[in-house]
């Protein structure tokens, strides 16, 4: 059985206006998303800002309420559960946030930050708590005395390690990593990515890795889902998506990756230009008559694309 199965997930936000602030319309942030995560795999959600990738992640963990669809975690539907029942399941899902500068409370020391999930879910004596925190802090490669320091005393990479330590504290099964390295320098990013791989093996973690950085996604993910306007446009293994992108939007995203060879930059610019032209002319053929993206159609067993039934 898959660890997480998201079925037709919808998150709609009401737009209010007019008399009495009535609901006049909906923002369909996530509009019918389906995917499955097998235990131990790393699944990448990619897309531009506003495509709904973060909202999807937040809806899975319950930070946004799903307005429709199912989030099956180990077979139990988290989306419709009440708070009390949720609490039993939710400790197995943890989140790593994007910005290590704002996701750690600056007025708490590292001990209090990392112990917070423990205090929410387990009753431990201060001494046990301290041991657990110390073990964890060593595991993430920080010095033991750092538990009495405050977030501002750490560098960006170290703060992200604190964020990761906090997420690992309850031995979760699934970690939703929302842009965990985009605020970091390349060499620090390399450190955090290597580290995330390492703990994945050690703790048997499954990652839902949300990012806009296609280079990072390619490096770390086994399977990738590309999102646009709240829906999936393409899903496949990293290989499928990078070497054989089918949907116009995926092609556009991949063309946007900065070219690492300066000699080829004009070729890349031209490619981008070509795709932009195609984007303007063919754009409508990728949507049905209501302006909604098509459902995913399988191309190969691992690779599916949102195109019209009859093909391209």
């Amino acid at each position: 059985m898959s660890l997480l199965n998201v079925k037709d997930l919808q998150v709609h936000f009401p737009i209010r206006g007019g008399f009495f602030r009535r609901v006049v319309d909906q923002v369909r942030a996530v509009d019918g998303v389906n995917f499955e995560l097998e235990p131990g795999e790393t699944y990448g959600l990619v897309g531009e800002s506003g495509c709904g990738k973060t909202t999807t992640g937040r809806a899975i963990i319950g930070l946004n309420k799903a307005t429709g669809g199912e989030v099956l975690f180990n077979g139990e539907n988290l989306a419709t559960m009440n708070g009390h029942d949720r609490k039993k399941h939710i400790r197995d899902i943890q989140m790593i946030f994007q910005d290590p500068y704002s996701s750690l409370n600056g007025r708490k020391n590292v001990l209090n930050i990392i112990a917070e999930p423990l205090r929410n879910f387990e009753r431990l004596s201060p001494k046990e708590e301290l041991t657990r925190v110390q073990n964890m802090i060593e595991r993430v490669g920080l010095s033991p005395e750092s538990i009495y320091k405050y977030p501002h005393q750490f560098s960006g990479g170290q703060r992200q390690r604190i964020g990761i330590a906090r997420a690992l504290m309850l031995n979760p099964k699934l970690i939703i990593a929302d842009e965990p390295v985009s605020a970091l320098d390349v060499s620090v990013q390399a450190q955090v990515l290597n580290f995330m791989r390492e703990i994945q093996k050690d703790f048997g973690l499954t990652y839902l890795f949300i990012s806009h950085d296609l280079g990072v996604i390619k490096h770390i993910c086994d399977r990738i889902g590309i999102m646009y306007k709240g829906r999936f446009v393409e899903e496949g293994t990293a290989e499928d998506v990078y070497t054989n992108p089918q949907h116009l939007y995926t092609k556009r995203l991949i063309a946007a990756i900065p070219e690492m060879d300066p000699v080829k930059r004009f070729e890349k610019m031209e490619l981008r230009e070509q795709i932009n032209v195609a984007y303007r002319t063919e754009y409508d053929s990728y949507f049905d008559k209501d302006g909604r993206m098509f459902d995913l159609k399988p191309l190969t067993p691992t690779h599916s694309v949102a195109v019209h039934q009859g093909g391209m």
Partner: protein, 339 residues
């Protein structure tokens, strides 16, 4: 060679920490020509933003000591009084800040914010100003200008906001633009758009650009020349093709191999050992990168490392590049504990 726009000579920016001054930018010299993009790359803490803020004079004068020269249009910006500097900043010298979310004033409309530098530097009628703003908005690729004119920053997306920030910096036709991580906060397609936009604008405006970034991908796409900065110094300067084809300094090579590049599919990324040294603890006599490549013998480094011109236009600091190689075993990386 094209006309020189900006000339930095031996710039040293020191910050006062508990009574002593420590140089964050330590003897930097750089020339930027008309219509040229010079990228400055390095990790955070290497002094690249400190350099940018020194050029534009945004450091707190009470705690910062600036030495050397920054010449723009024949004037040394460092010796100008604030009133005169204010006549140049925002007019001849534009700045694009890193984070469009915080660079804009949340309480003023977009139109108001683009008009602000014009109010200060140009005498334009109300209607002329508005016309210019709409023109700028179009230039930076915003389609419904009249609507955006009246909107507030929070109503716009990150990419739109960065376009507004760029429009503000271009409002008075600068000859020199300083872009501090202009695409860092944006996602790829927007980044590609902003990069293409900046290339386009550079062509139209002819201004020199100093592009500060940590993203070597952005460098490869945009820069004409690259200066790699480490611990307050330039460690390698070369034109962009040379730098990517034949990187010499150990720092440049380490940076390049730590990118999850889209060509290679390595399991493990190269991690640069240790951290960027703090300016207080820096050993200023020797090679500043030496502590991070401990497997290279000490004899490979020189005392008071200089920039050597290894081929025309390609400068490398210190002699250690001749003996540099990546460590064979990366076991020490695994056990490495940061403090």
């Amino acid at each position: 060679m094209a006309e020189t726009v900006l000339e930095i000579e031996n710039l040293r920016t020191s910050f006062n920490i508990k009574g002593n001054y420590y140089a964050a930018v330590d003897g930097v010299s750089l020339t930027v020509h008309k219509n040229e993009v010079v990228a400055i790359v390095g990790e955070s803490g290497c002094g690249k933003s400190a350099l940018a803020l020194s050029i534009i004079g945004l450091h707190n004068a009470k705690t910062t000591k600036l030495e050397g020269q920054v010449n723009l249009k024949g004037q040394n910006l460092l010796s100008l009084p604030v009133e005169k500097l204010n006549k140049i900043r925002g007019k001849d010298l534009g700045m694009i800040f890193q984070d469009p979310m915080t660079a804009l004033n949340p309480l003023a409309t977009v139109g108001r914010q683009i008009e602000e530098p014009m109010d200060y530097h140009m005498k334009l009628s109300k209607s002329a100003k508005k016309k210019r703003v709409l023109e700028l908005l179009e230039q930076v690729g915003i389609k419904n200008g009249p609507r955006v004119y009246k909107q507030y920053p929070h109503e716009l997306s990150g990419g739109m906001r960065q376009r507004i920030v760029i429009a503000i910096s271009l409002a008075c036709n600068p000859v020199m633009l300083i872009a501090d991580e202009p695409t860092t906060a944006l996602d790829v397609t927007i980044q590609a758009q902003i990069m293409d936009l900046m290339k386009e604008l550079q062509r139209i405006t002819d201004s020199g650009i100093i592009l500060i970034t940590h993203d070597l991908g952005v460098v490869a796409e945009m820069a004409d020349r690259v200066a790699v900065m480490y611990a307050g110094e330039f460690v390698e300067i070369a034109d962009v093709n040379t730098l990517f084809a034949n990187p010499l300094h150990p720092y440049t090579r380490s940076l390049l191999s730590s990118i999850p590049s889209n060509m290679t599919d390595k399991e493990e990324l190269h991690v640069i050992e240790g951290i960027v040294p703090s300016i207080q603890k820096l050993d200023r006599g020797g090679c500043r990168f030496a502590p991070r490549i401990p497997w290279i013998s000490e004899d490979a480094h020189e005392d008071n490392p200089m920039l050597h011109e290894v081929e025309p236009g390609h400068f490398v600091r210190c002699t250690c590049y001749k003996d540099f190689h990546f460590p064979e075993e990366r076991v020490e990386d695994e056990n490495y504990v940061t403090t």
